[in-house]
Amino acid sequence: MANPTPDTDFKRDYKYGFITDIETEAFPKGLNAGIIKLLSERKKEPAWMLEWRLKAYRHWLTMKEPHWPNFQYGPIDYQALTYYSAPKQKNTNPKNLAEIDQELLKTFERLGIPLNEQKRLTGVAVDAVFDSVSVGTTHKEILAREGVIFCSISEAIREHPELVKKYLGSVVPYSDNYFATLNSAVFSDGSFCYIPKGVKCPLELSTYFRINAAETGQFERTLIIAEDDSYVSYLEGCTAPMRDQNQLHAAVVELITLNNAEIKYATVQNWYSGDKDGKGGIYNFVTKRGKCVGKNSKISWTQVEAGAAITWKYPSVILQGDNSVGKFYSVALTNNHMQADTGTKMIHIGKNTKSTVVSKGISTDYSNNNYRGLIKILPSADGARNFSQCDSMLVGNNCKANTFPYIEVKNHTAVLEHEATTSKINADQVFYLKSRGLDLEGSVSLLINGFCKDVFKELPLEFSVEAVRLLEMKLEGSVG
């Protein structure tokens, strides 16, 4: 298959915009049952998996692309996309990282994700996904000692079919929504993680998603299961080269916590967001949902959304177990012509379930930033509690910020609080900081940091430093 041609129109402000020149194997463009069969075959999947995919595909054909979000985009031609693109590795099934293609290692190193033994991050196990496949997972041995399974979902389907079969689609069913259903049919890789009973995962687990190939959709699927009394903290990062065409990313993430288990899931999303005129960029249509199945279990989503031309994403928690806790902390920054419609859903089913929502939206330039959230209290959820805080900050005069909070309460013992503010970076604050010696960018970064503090403090330390840098970079030139 053709190599991607290097893009000459590099812009300096998106430092992850480079293209890896690597030979790839890609399927012909278009989507049909034959492509799905080919994909399943290539991944050496069992028959039940193919059946599930085809069921999803048939259902997808009956569905319509949703257009209720508060943003506009041109039609997506699903037949013009490539549904599988993988770097051609000399060794198709690398046993260890030494067998991974040097170009790929270099790519991830350039992205700040060194995979090789000497340089890799201590304390963090990384699964690196390049286009449609996982190219390697670090620290596997340490994890194995504790019985933690951390591998690509393709490997999990082959090696741990009983777990995948039991949990895949248990939180986000194949028929859930247009993009999740598409993902169910064509997901090509992603991460799988299983924390056995009573284990506190000794490392942070992390997946890094990289879209490289042009006109290729990335459809990854992540499944994390935390058994009774276990704990895991999980990080996800994403980037893509700068290209003039829009690229589709439709991922599904499912989290499951059993009794007393806890999953912390953090994302720093920095997909290419298009140029300053709004050309190109990733369409990010993602379904993320966790289910607190067991009592006293906890799921928290923390996200820093700073990239993608379009973001459609509502990381949610189904609070089924009694006393379970769901949290959502979000910073969504939009600049140039980015459009984001993002928020969360907290579905309270169990007794005394609690949820917290803290959302900080920052819009600059001509961007459009929307918070959309649902708090739903079912009749069974005696004593449910929710606290929501949605703050928007506007930088400049041409951007938009909206908040769409939905509340459905069917139990009179529930207590819900909702606070919302909208503010602008004000000139007096900037002058105050400047008159103490900080320059404009330092001042704005301090103000933004203050604004986002409640969210940043939920991120693991290295990530919060990254997140701050990312926002600073994005805001450069937007203020003043």
Binding site: Q429, K434, R436, G437, L447, K453
Partner: protein, 250 residues
């Protein structure tokens, strides 16, 4: 150190300063008094570099390393890094930013500019605590709270004085730092200023009332009226103003 000549300034087309002249030398304390609307705060903000004001004519020369620079051509942060400090009449709130974090960021910016060693949070904490002790603010807890958010009036003003102590400016302009203070806070602020007074720095106090000058003895008192300094004398002038008001001067 500071030489203001024939300064004319307007905001939104309205002329506020109509030819201000002022010379400040190292080691001096100047008090600028005058009725409301005479242009005192405008003068302070223009020295600090507030972007809302339009300088129509005149100059502000400031001495940096024995060389004269035109302050009006410098960004506010550049002025701050060269040792100009403005204590605000109404300090603004910075939500979510801890006062100590803000102070360290400012301190390190100035150190970086002046080629001095920057401090890490631990060193800096010790340094700030030392300054707070010096200023009789050892019991103050505001440095662990977001900058000026939910501060009392006294805390806001003490915070300004603490910033001045931490940043060690060469030229400090205190814009009505005494207004709205009870007598105890006034004493803390005034004693702080006295402790920070050195022979190579200068302080300009902008004030409505003589009472601050009971604690801080100025070398010069200037009366501002209708955008001009109309009278400059020694400290006795403040007492006369206290007794007779401003009318007899103008």
């Amino acid at each position: 150190m500071l030489e203001i000549k024939n300064l004319h300034v307007s905001i939104n087309e309205a002329l506020i300063l109509k030819g201000v002249n002022l010379t400040v030398n190292p080691g001096e304390v100047h008090a600028i008094m005058g009725p409301n609307g005479s242009g005192k705060s405008t003068l302070a903000k223009v020295i600090g570099g507030h972007p809302d004001y339009q300088v129509n004519s005149g100059t502000i020369d400031y001495e940096v390393n024995f060389k004269k620079v035109n302050l009006l051509e410098m960004e506010p942060e550049a002025r701050a890094r060269e040792g100009v400090f403005l204590a605000f009449q109404y300090p603004v709130e910075i939500p979510g930013v801890t006062t100590s974090v803000f102070l360290r960021a400012a301190f390190n910016e100035i150190c970086k500019h002046q080629g001095a060693q920057e401090m890490d949070p631990i060193e800096f904490d010790e340094y700030v605590r030392g300054k707070m002790k010096l200023l009789s603010m050892a019991n103050d807890k505001f440095i662990d709270r977001p900058v000026n958010v939910d501060f009392s009036g006294g805390e806001k003003k003490r915070n300004e004085i603490l910033q001045m102590a931490v940043l060690s400016p060469r030229l400090a302009i205190l814009d009505e730092t005494d207004s709205g203070l009870d007598i105890d806070s006034l004493r803390i602020v005034a004693e702080g200023v006295n402790k920070l007074k050195k022979k190579d720095n200068a302080i300009v106090l902008i004030t409505h009332y003589q009472r601050l000058l009971n604690y801080i003895v100025p070398d010069f008192v200037h009366i501002m009226h209708d955008g001009k300094i109309v009278r400059s004398e020694g400290k006795e002038l403040a007492l006369q103003v206290e007794e007779r008001g401003y009318d007899w001067i103008t």
